[in-house]
């Protein structure tokens, strides 16, 4: 054991000169900063952003969701067969990085592995409704759900459902987490824990080989360090910069800053079983007392869009013209009088530790003071925050939610269906009509009909105001100007480097 440590030490101190660790030469590749190291590169064994960022380069899903809607990736077409089954035609001539063919058998293997209880898939809930998979022909596969579930197509865009090489899984067993083999534009090369993950161009990629030869992903936990690295040329791409740094980076001619709509939304949730917030008039009064636009301008430096509902406009089924709350203190006071609430209300707002949430919480505190509310803010770390929400130990809570599948069902069902009380329906929201609509939305295959159903549900939810919808944060990332044609639709984890070029 000791000798291992010593050997490692010597290697570290002596042997790591230029060979493996020097940054890529100009035009060769790019370096990306991640907020944390990946936990596993097996799509079935992980459910965090950094892992998915890497997985999205190595693996591919059957479908993808773009601004234009659902688009083919490994599946080229799909159609419903009966009300619980979808049939997919698969792309032909695609090979995994290990040379084995991608086919219906690989899809069957992947999905059965994912939903097998033994596999302990972290994101199991994404496909928990799947009953079975059948390979009909070499390029045709059918997926059957246990109940009619129209959002299945969107769920198949979730990176956790990426198709893995059955041969590689058999070969590596549990070590597949560190030896990922997919069909994506980049092949896995090496992983030095907490320091770097290196990927190489897949020359046989079915969509044509990428322009860049190499991608290095470096976990750099501290955002200030990431920004120094970006400015000094040590890394090429940085995600989710703090609002204050964005303005500075925008003035730097060597760096381009991208600000794009994301699939996330931020809310203040109410505990609907605790007075005074059990009264809808009190919740509406809160809505009239908070000046969200000011909050976005001053605290977030404009890096967010005002929210009137639970779903970011990029999500399928989002109701984009819900009426919001005008800032109107008189109206707020009138509502409180009507509800019989006197001044001196004390309430606890629970948030998780982050600079952004601290500011938001302070703004909420200040906004509600004129109503005679005394808001006490509990800032806790993420794990504690989750367990406080699970236990219902709060009057108000701050929450960010990402609609990862980009389908209304993912968020609305989780947050507002009464079957999801106490979590993730932390607000304990119950409305039989909303329940009925959400069930119907799942069972309806017709997408335009679904959109209508979800619009109706969102109108009802907005009226009941179980949450104060705050804003949809923009997804920000900064790239060296020399690196061109990067796209990251709806989230940094979806970074797409297939067309990226480097001109240094």
């Amino acid at each position: 054991m000791l000798s291992k440590v010593l050997a490692g030490l010597i290697v570290l101190l002596v042997g790591t000169g230029a060979a493996g660790f020097a940054g890529p030469a100009p035009g060769e590749g790019i370096v990306i900063a991640m907020p944390a190291d990946a936990t596993a590169l097996d799509p079935h064994k992980t459910n965090d952003g950094p892992s998915f960022l890497v997985i999205n380069q190595i693996f591919e899903t059957l479908l993808v969701r773009t601004a234009r809607g659902l688009e083919p990736r490994l599946a080229i077409s799909w159609r419903p067969v009966g009300d619980r089954t979808w049939e997919f035609k698969l792309r032909r001539g695609v090979r995994f990085h290990d040379g084995t063919p991608f086919n219906a058998e690989a899809v069957r293997f992947t999905i059965e592995r994912f939903i097998n209880p033994e596999a302990r898939a972290r994101a199991y809930f994404v496909l928990s409704m799947v009953e079975g998979v059948r390979a009909i022909a070499d390029d045709t596969v059918q997926i059957t759900t246990r109940y009619p579930f129209a959002a299945l197509l969107n769920h198949l865009t979730h990176p956790a459902t990426s198709i893995v090489s059955p041969a590689a899984v058999a070969r590596f067993g549990a070590d597949f987490v560190r030896n990922p083999v997919g069909t994506g534009p980049f092949k896995f090369e090496s992983w030095v824990a907490r320091d770097r993950i290196t990927l190489l161009r897949n020359d046989d990629y079915w969509g044509g080989p990428p322009q860049i030869a190499r991608v290095v992903l470096r976990p750099i936990p501290e955002t200030s360090t990431q920004i120094v690295e970006l400015e000094s040329g040590g890394v090429d791409v940085v995600f989710n910069m703090p609002a204050d740094s964005v303005a500075r980076l925008e003035r730097n001619p060597r760096i381009r800053v991208y600000k794009e709509p994301s699939f996330s939304a931020n809310y203040i949730g109410f505990h609907l079983e605790r007075p005074p917030f059990s009264d809808v008039r009190v919740r509406r009064a809160v809505g009239h007392a908070v000046r969200v636009e000011g909050l976005i301008t001053f605290f977030l430096k404009g890096l967010a869009v005002r929210a009137n509902g639970p779903l970011s406009p990029v999500v399928f089924g989002a109701h984009t013209d819900l009426p919001g709350y005008e800032y109107d203190l008189d109206r707020a006071r009138a509502l409180l009088t009507e509800a019989g609430v006197r001044a001196g209300v004390r309430a606890r707002l629970v948030i998780f530790e982050s600079a952004e949430w601290r500011r938001i919480a302070q703004a909420i505190q200040a906004s509600l003071q004129p109503l005679g509310f005394q808001i006490e803010v509990d800032v806790v770390e993420f794990g504690t925050w989750l367990s406080r929400l699970d236990r219902g130990d709060f009057d108000l809570y701050g929450m960010r939610w990402g609609t990862v599948t980009l389908d209304a069902d993912y968020t609305l069902y989780s947050l507002f269906h009464s079957s999801q009380i106490p979590n993730p329906n932390y607000s304990r929201y119950r409305n039989p009509e909303v329940d009925r609509l959400l069930d119907e939305g799942r069972a309806t295959a017709d997408q335009s009909r679904r959109a209508q159903i979800y619009r109706r549900a969102q109108s009802l939810i907005a009226q009941d105001a179980p949450m104060l919808f705050l804003y949809y944060p923009l997804s920000t990332y900064a790239v060296q100007s020399a690196v061109q044609n990067t796209v990251a639709p709806f989230s940094w984890i979806n970074l797409d480097l297939r067309k990226t070029m480097v001109r240094r």
Binding site: T16, G17, R122, F125, S128, A193, T225, T384
Partner: protein, 309 residues
Amino acid sequence: MGRYLIQRLILMVPVLLGVTLVSFLILHLTPGDPVRILLGELGQGASQEEVARLRRSLGLDDPLLVQYGRFVWRALQGDLGRSLRTGAPVRDEVLARAPFTLALTGTSLAVALLIGLPAGVLSAAYKGSAIDHAATLLALFGVSLPVFWLGLLLMLVFALALEWLPASGFGTWKHLVLPSVTLGLASSALIARMTRSSMLEVLGQDFVRTAWAKGLAAPAVLWRHALRNALIPVVTVVGLQLGGLLGGAVLTETVFAWPGLGRLVVGAIYSRDFPLVQGTVLFTAAAFVMVNLAVDILYALIDPRIRYA
């Protein structure tokens, strides 16, 4: 000496057991469910049954005593279990990070000693002079500057403005400079203060007066006679510092994206990765105990009057 060593090594067992038990209890009594955290911000859509299923499969719904017993039983066989988050064997994770922490600790300690010892000796020798005041002021700065701020400041100057050194990561000796200076400065301040006061005490003693009286040159008196005798408390402080550096390099490792044990354990605590925290704590505690033992042995080497039977 041999018997003493064996006694000390046997004594390590209850100490380490105690450390693991306390850390185990604190960890499990802290609010926060590892499974919910495992699912993370992207896993908020998981239902209760799905969370419960994952928890069962990870053996987290067994009684605490059973879980602790399992940990100790396996640890005795050299198996520290697997990380909840990555599924990798904890022993491998810890051993892979240890060299980085040892490298950083070693160089930081060297920085601390190179600055701290001379500063302490000189300010004691020239007590009340400008040198003494300057050293005191520096020491004050050293202990009060937050590592975080100092690290970023050094990075802005030497990586961004001057472009002499890389900002973060590891690979060449250059990568070690900024983090070890950052970490070493704070320790050097403490070492300087301790050296100064210990030297002042020694400088007033008879044998130093004798050394002066027989006409030895100032450097010989200071460095050979006085410092050697003043070293005992300094060695104690250095030992404690080393222990602290081993486990407490967290902030430095975070600022400089250094893949050491400090960052490992903080990440593990945040994600309530019980086996990983336990394994790292056990390793760090063992290292700390060994350092203490080494310090005690050093006493005997420095001061012949100290003997262990």
